[in-house]
């Protein structure tokens, strides 16, 4: 990029290259560079380049600069604004940029450029700069409505300053400039009034209240105020409200412009929204009259139809032709489109009236045609036309003289004459070469007429087509003629024009001065009159020229061409007017149907014409192009921007100058402009606008050249003729005027674009509205259809409802019937049910009966059985009775026999004797006695029995009593047993406690002893000393312990020696003794103990039985033997401690003795036992019952006894012999022995210790 930088910079001059491709390339390069490069270098270069060369390409590039560069651009421009020299071009550039409406334009309010612009406008004295600046400002204002508010008073100041210029003229500039300036102020006034009415009015009020400004107001501002109506904002709005940014939010730029235009009464400035298109120039004058002459003008202006209708009456008086009045009045309420025609009609011949009439017929439709096509259609024609017009400069003069409509409208008007101009050389050629194809002829010969007529041909392929062609053919002829005439007249005309213009100028200026106070020189009236007069004055030359008055659209162009045609025809001989009229009638009536064709054709044709022209006749006729090209459009445009008179004046001046220039430097131009023709060729591909601008610039350049070459005298002569200033000044003036014109042209073009934008939007709205209407209609139709549907549906619904009702009724009846049936059935069912129940009850009854019967039957059966049984019995009885009867009979027989025998016996006895009776009596007595005795004995027996029985009873009661007693006894016994058991338990526990206590005491004792011994070990001397009488000096310690008492030890030793053989059993016994209590728990221990004891017999040298025991304790505890051991050790305790211990022990042993009784207490002998035990240990029967502790104590006793009491040996022996027995007894003695089961182990340990000691002793 950096490398390319210089290249790009170098490329700038190449922008002026004539080569199109190169130009494109360079443009592309620069644009590319701009899009990639962020820096301001290239842009600054471009600006500088533009300032130097005024290059159109540079403008083009600069005005389309994108976002990031806007800052650089604006900064650069701001920088340039500070330089006086660069100011104008900078402003021009700014104007271009602003008109381009880049997206970032709103930012301009934030940049210092705006401030510097305002400052420049407030301070600068150069009128050209001022005007350009003002125009730029006016253009800019709608773009920055919100931002403008902070500079509002600066705007107003600018306005005030510039307005006062008109009177005071501080810059001492020529009046020509003043006119320009005034026009621009007028525009500014409108803009400010439209945008900020309240503020502006208040400003005006305050500013022109001042004395020194009154004149200015009277002269300048008041006429301006007369051209505006009261802004509605003045009524409803406030100063603050109109500055509110929200107010502008809903407005687009063009909306603002239109808003501003709406309040204007000046037809040039005002916009008629409904009428849409600005009025053609010719019509404006009529409108312009109104403000001055009628009070109701605002209203008429408001309502376009009225305006049009009312305007014509006013205009007619001025116009020489009455028909337009009638025609104009005829349409009445029709739109303004007609009025242009009417207004144009005065310019054309009377024949135009018919066309006007015809146009009145089609114009509404044409309006529609305008509205319906897409925006491009609305837009394109004008540039095309203007473009074509700009290429055909030959007509400029005419247009300037005649066409003073809007710039856009004027161009098409001018476009056609150029054709004619260019055509007249062409036509012959064409007619020679390409005459046969009529279609070709048309475009070439007369672009506009052909345009119009081609459509009729295409659209209505009828007889009209033929006529048109005929007419077209006629046209060509007529055109050529007219062109020739024109050609000839051209020079005459220019001259004539010159003079006429100068005259008019004088007159106008005079008028202007006269009327300045009254109407303001901006009144277009003069111009119109001027044009009218002009046209009237030069009917012939102007016929073709004046005819093509500025129509805005192709139709107008058509009309103009038509006019032209008609004029031509009229000029030639006016043949076939009716035919053309008819054809036109047809064509226009059809036109709305295809609105596009007119657009295409003009473009095509104009282009083709241009090409043709360029190609063939450039050399010849081009000189005129450049000369007139630049001036003409500006003037035409200028007319719109400026007040009529001024524009006229300027137009005259310029045309005059141009005319002069054209006359003088025709040849030169012809030579020099060939290049431009080429350029033009290049431009052809570019936008027409660009072409136009280009042309303007070229024109100005050439103009410069020409002017420079002009000899001063001639110029001076010219100017002196007008009494003007010095020629140099004049040149300068002209040049700056040119510049001004250009800028104003651009401004107007910008305005037009705004309008176009608005058009497009409105069109869109109309389309939308119609579409919506259509939709509405369709929906209405649909609604109708649907309502019909609804109706039918309702009917069907009713039918269905009826049917439904019917069905319902049917159903109802059926239901009721069914119900009744059901009821009947239910009744039946109930009946059946009751019957059934009855039957059931009957059945039950029957069943009951059956049961009864069955019971009866059973009973009967029973009876039968019974009876059967009885019968059997009876039969048995019967049989038995029978047998008894037989026996009876047999017995009876026997009885009889016996009776007989008895009788016989009695007889025998009576016969035998009487002594038998005595005996019998005796026997009887004895028998009686015996009976008596037996009876007595029986009685006796009975008594005895009774007694016995009584006895038995007694005994039995006794027995029971006894049993009772026994039971009670048992119970009691039980009681006693329980009691005894309880007591026993108590004593048992007591005994246990006692044992525990004893054990504890023993352990304690042992503990003490062990401690003592330990002490003894440590100090044996003391021990021996304590031992005192110890005979055995050898074993110092043990002896002292073991054998404290020599005699005793001897004795014991003896016993031990004696009983050595019997020691083992004893030892066994001793071991068994403790083992016995254990034996209950673990009898196995017994043999082991015995075994161990037997084994260990030899070692125990001690005679003491206690010493035989120590071996056993290894395995089993021997609590009872503890006593012997202690005994054994007792003697050693002859010392003080020993004595004490003995005493203690004794106490204990005594208590032990006391406590021993518990076992015997069972027999209640505890007390006795105690004594017995103490006195005599032999207590065999009891001893058996006694528990082992007893022998233990006994064992212990003898050992202790020897020390104290010397028990007899026999007794000891007895004891010792007893001990085994006792063991047996103890073993038998069960429960009691068990009580002594547990003995503390500590004792064993102690014994072991003792044993060890004895071992030591032995060793």
């Amino acid at each position: 990029m950096a490398r390319e930088q210089p290249n790009v910079g170098d490329l700038l001059p190449l922008l002026e290259s004539s080569d199109i491709h190169q130009l494109e390339e360079i443009k592309g390069l620069i644009n590319e560079h701009l899009s990639t490069e962020r820096g301001a270098m290239l842009l600054n270069g471009l600006v500088d380049y533009f300032l130097e060369t005024n290059s159109a390409q540079a403008i083009h590039i600069l005005s389309s600069v994108r976002e990031p560069h806007d800052k650089h651009l604006l900064d650069k421009m701001n920088e340039c604004m500070t330089k006086q020299a660069c100011r104008l071009p900078t402003l021009t550039l700014l104007g271009h940029v602003v008109r381009k409406q880049p997206s970032w334009i709103h930012k301009i309010a934030r940049y210092p450029l705006l401030l510097s612009l305002l400052k420049c406008l407030k301070t600068d004295l150069d009128v050209v700069v001022l005007i350009t600046g003002v125009l730029v400002l006016i253009t800019l204002l709608p773009m920055i409505p919100q931002a403008g508010k902070q500079h509002l008073y600066e705007f107003f100041d600018i306005f005030g300053r510039l307005a006062s210029w008109n009177l005071k003229n501080p810059g001492h500039i020529s009046e020509v400039y003043l006119i320009h300036l005034h026009a621009s102020i007028y525009s500014l006034f409108h803009r400010l009034y439209g945008m900020y009415p309240c503020n502006f009015v208040s400003y005006l009020r305050s500013h022109y209240n001042m004395k020194e400004n009154v004149d200015t107001f009277e002269e300048v501002v008041k006429p301006m105020l007369e051209h505006v109506r009261i802004h509605p904002e003045l009524v409803t709005g406030t100063k603050d409200q109109e500055l509110d940014p929200t107010r502008w939010k809903k407005f687009e730029i063009h909306d603002i412009v239109i808003e501003c235009a709406k309040v204007s009464l000046d037809p040039k400035e005002a916009s008629c929204e409904e009428g849409y298109a600005p009025m053609p120039g010719n019509f404006y004058p009529h409108l312009e009259l109104r403000p001055q002459e009628s009070v109701s003008s605002p209203y008429t202006d408001f309502h376009n139809s009225y305006g049009s209708s009312s305007s014509t009456p006013f205009s007619t008086p001025r116009q020489p032709l009455p028909p337009p009045l009638s025609l104009a009045s005829l349409p009445g309420t029709q739109s303004l489109y007609r009025s242009p025609q009417t207004s144009r009609s005065p310019n054309s011949s009377c024949e135009l009236d018919t066309t006007c009439g015809v146009k009145e017929l089609w114009s509404p439709s044409s309006l529609c045609g305008m509205a319906t096509p897409p925006s491009s259609s609305g837009m394109s024609p004008n540039p095309e036309l203007s473009h074509s017009a700009s290429h055909l400069p030959g007509h400029r003069v005419h247009s300037t003289s005649g066409g003073k409509g809007t710039p856009a409208s004027s161009t098409p008007a001018t476009s056609s004459p150029p054709h004619t101009l260019s055509d007249f050389p062409i036509i012959p050629l064409l007619s020679n070469t390409t005459s046969p194809p009529q279609k070709d002829d048309h475009p070439v010969e007369a672009a506009k007429p052909s345009l119009v007529k081609q459509e009729p041909i295409r659209d209505s392929e009828k007889g009209g087509e033929v006529i048109n062609r005929d007419v077209g053919g006629g046209e060509t002829i007529s055109m050529t003629l007219s062109v020739f005439m024109k050609e000839q007249e051209l020079q005459q005309r220019t001259e004539r024009e010159e003079t006429a213009i100068s005259e008019e100028l004088l007159k106008i200026t005079k008028d202007k001065r006269d009327l300045a106070g009254v109407r303001g020189f901006d009144s277009p009236f003069y111009r119109t009159t001027e044009t009218l007069t002009g046209t009237q004055e030069k009917p012939l030359p102007n016929l073709p020229l004046g005819g093509p008055m500025p129509p805005r659209d192709p139709h107008h162009a058509v009309s103009t061409s038509d006019n032209e045609l008609e004029n031509a025809q009229g000029g030639i001989g006016g043949g076939g007017d009716s035919s053309t009229g008819l054809a036109l009638d047809q064509s226009w009536s059809i036109e709305p149907v295809c609105p596009f064709s007119p657009i295409q054709h003009p473009l095509h044709q104009s282009l083709s014409a241009l090409e043709d022209e360029v190609a063939k006749f450039g050399g010849l006729f081009s000189p005129s192009h450049p000369m007139k090209k630049p001036s003409l459009p500006y003037e035409a445009l200028f007319d719109l921007a400026l007040p009529r008179a001024a524009s006229l004046f300027v137009g005259r001046r310029t045309s005059e100058a141009r005319g002069r220039a054209a006359l003088e430097k025709l040849c030169q131009r012809q030579e020099g402009l060939e290049d431009r023709e080429e350029e033009g060729k290049g431009i052809v591909s570019a936008s027409p606008l660009e072409v136009l601008d280009h042309l303007v610039q070229q024109g100005s350049d050439t103009h410069d050249k020409v002017l420079k070459r002009l000899p001063l005298p001639s110029k001076s002569a010219d100017w002196t003729h007008f009494g003007g200033s010095a020629p140099l000044d004049e040149l300068h003036t002209l040049r700056s005027q040119l510049l001004l014109l250009h800028s104003q042209l651009l401004y107007e073009r910008y305005k037009r674009e705004q309008h176009a934008v608005r058009n497009r939007r409105l069109l869109r709205r109309v389309i939308n509205a119609t579409a919506l209407e259509e939709q509405n209609n369709a929906m209405k139709d649909q609604l109708n259809l649907q309502s019909v549907d609804v109706v039918t549906l309702k009917e069907s619904l009713q039918v269905e409802q009826q049917r439904c009702r019917q069905l319902w009724d049917d159903r109802e009846t059926v239901v009721t019937r069914l119900h009744s049936q059901v009821r009947q059935l239910q009744q039946g069912r109930d009946d059946y049910y009751t019957k059934n129940q009855e039957l059931q009850s009957q059945l039950n009854e029957y069943q009951k009966k059956m049961n009864d019967l069955e019971a009866d039957l059973q009973r009967a059966n029973n009876k039968v059985c019974h009876t059967g049984h009885l019968l059997n019995q009876m039969t048995i009885k019967l049989s038995t009775s029978e047998s008894t009867q037989q026996q009876m009979s047999f017995l009876n027989k026997q009885l009889l026999l016996l009776g007989e025998a008895h009788k016989l016996d009695v007889l025998q006895q009576q016969h035998t004797g009487s002594d038998n009776t005595k005996e019998a009596q005796m026997v009887q007595v004895s028998w009686g006695k015996e009976v008596e005795r037996l009876r007595q004995s029986l009685l006796q027996q009975g008594q005895k029995l009774e007694a016995a029985q009584q006895r038995v009873g007694e005994l039995e009661t006794h027995l029971t009593k006894k049993e009772h007693l026994i039971v009670e006894q048992k119970k009691f016994l039980e009681d006693v047993k329980g009691q005894a058991k309880g007591e026993l338990q108590a004593s048992e526990s007591r005994y246990q406690a006692q044992r525990r206590v004893t054990q504890l005491l023993q352990t304690e004792l042992l503990h003490l002893y062990s401690r003592l011994e330990m002490e003894g070990h440590t100090c044996p001397t003391t021990a021996s000393a304590a031992g005192g009488s110890s005979t055995d000096p050898g074993p110092p310690i043990d002896s002292s312990i073991m054998e404290p008492d020599g005699s005793v030890t001897l004795g014991t030793n003896e016993w031990s020696d004696d009983r050595r053989p019997s020691q083992s059993p004893r030892g066994n016994g001793s071991t068994l003794l403790p083992g016995k209590p254990k034996a209950n728990n673990s009898p196995k221990a017994l043999p082991v103990n015995s075994a161990s004891s037997t084994q260990d017999i030899p070692p125990p040298l001690l005679v003491e039985p206690s010493f035989s025991c120590p071996h056993a304790p290894l395995a089993t505890p021997m609590p009872p033997d503890a006593a012997p051991l202690t005994v054994g050790s007792y003697p050693s305790a002859n010392s003080f401690l020993g004595m004490r211990a003995r005493e203690l022990f004794r106490n204990k042993s005594e208590s032990q003795c006391d406590e021993e009784p518990p076992p015997p207490h069972l027999a209640g002998l505890s007390q006795g036992l105690k004594t017995e035990l103490c006195v005599e240990p032999l207590f065999p029967p009891l001893g058996n019952a006694l528990t082992c502790p007893v022998p233990a104590s006994i064992l212990g006793a003898p050992l202790t006894v020897p020390a104290k009491e010397h028990l007899p040996e026999t007794r000891q022996r007895a004891i010792k012999q007893e001990s085994p027995r006792r063991k047996m007894g103890g073993a038998r003695g069960g429960g009691a022995a068990a009580a002594s089961a547990a003995q503390p182990r500590q004792q064993q340990q102690f014994r072991i210790m003792d044993y060890n000691e004895t071992q030591q002793e032995h060793s």
Partner: protein, 330 residues
């Protein structure tokens, strides 16, 4: 019953009005008049009704087997007991396990140890272990209840023996059954305790191993022990539950075990003087690991009488409700 000539004819009326004690006392007197006392009936009575305090000791003695059922042998056995007591005491004195200054409970403990053959050597006497502690607290409570040291010792010994023999196995299950009954009675509280983790920290040993000795004042404790002595350890569960229930609101109000502890502290402002020694070592043993136990202990160590009476009454009602009234005919 009404026909029972020995019974007051107003008895029905008494019961209606609520003076149950009158009847009960009478019944108890009747029971006690039997020569061989029916221990079973007595225990049933003790379970069903509160014992009149004048007969309490006697009944306890009988129930615990200190006195045989036969009235005749009472004096004899009593003599035995006394002698045994004195012997043991004497032995201890001789062996210098105890001396004049030894606190009575300590003496009881030594005696008990001696009798159960676990008396340590004097030289290597250890600080009392857990079991000894339980014994001591029970002894303390008993000491309060019983005046005569001999009776006291015997009651303590028998009580502890009986308790350990009879309920030794079931005591570890008591917390579980407490949980169960609590879930039946007041599941919310149980959940709260569970959630806060206080459940595990409740003073079970105090409650169940010592039968609330040192927790409830003696007057209330007596009634609990009536039931325990008469052969039910379930009552302990219900007493514990009733304690929890009666402090439910405060316990529920606190989510942290420490909070529970605080409540307990607030409830019981009595820390008995006699317990100071124990508290000191308790601090050593429990405070660090189980502060809740300690504080619960502190709380329950001595609760206001009126509260505990109500608690015990309610607990007995609950116990009757859940375990049924022992239906041995009175």
């Amino acid at each position: 019953m009404a026909e029972d000539p020995q019974r007051n004819f107003r008895s029905a009326y008494y019961e209606k009005v609520g003076f149950r004690g009158v009847e009960e006392k009478k019944s108890l007197e009747i029971l006690l008049k039997d020569n061989p006392l029916d221990v079973e009936k007595l225990s049933t009575f003790s379970q069903r009704f509160p014992l009149p305090s004048m007969y309490r000791i006697h009944v306890w003695k009988v129930l615990l087997g200190i006195l045989p059922p036969h009235n005749d042998s009472h004096s004899l056995v009593g003599g035995y007991r006394r002698e045994q007591y004195q012997d043991v005491l004497e032995a201890l004195k001789v062996m210098r396990f105890v001396h004049m200054a030894t606190p009575q409970t300590q003496v009881y403990l030594r005696m008990f140890q001696l009798e159960s053959q676990v008396l340590p050597r004097r030289s290597d006497t250890l600080p009392p272990d857990e079991e000894d502690e339980d014994f001591l607290s029970i002894a303390r409570a008993m000491e309060e209840i019983v005046e005569d040291p001999m009776d006291c010792y015997w009651l303590i010994k028998s009580f502890v023996n009986q308790f350990n023999n009879k309920f030794g196995d079931s005591i570890p299950h008591l917390p579980k059954s407490l949980e169960h009954y609590l879930s039946v009675e007041e599941p919310r509280l149980l959940n709260h305790l569970k959630n806060t983790g206080a459940l595990a920290m409740l003073p079970y040993s105090l409650w169940f191993r010592r039968c609330f000795a040192g927790c409830l004042p003696e007057s209330s404790l007596q009634r609990v022990w009536d039931k325990v002595i008469s052969g039910s350890c379930k009552i302990l569960v219900f007493v514990a539950m009733e304690i929890l229930l009666s402090y439910k609101i405060m316990v529920m109000g606190n989510s942290r075990p420490e909070g529970v502890v605080n409540i307990l502290c607030n409830v019981s402002d009595v820390i008995i003087i006699g317990g100071s020694v124990r508290i000191s070592w308790r601090f050593e043993t429990f405070l660090l690991c189980l502060p809740i136990t300690l504080l619960c202990f502190l709380l329950y160590y001595q609760m206001p009488q009126e509260n505990t009476d109500a608690i015990v009454t309610k607990a007995i009602d609950l116990w009757h409700k859940y375990c049924g009234t022992p239906m041995h005919s009175v």
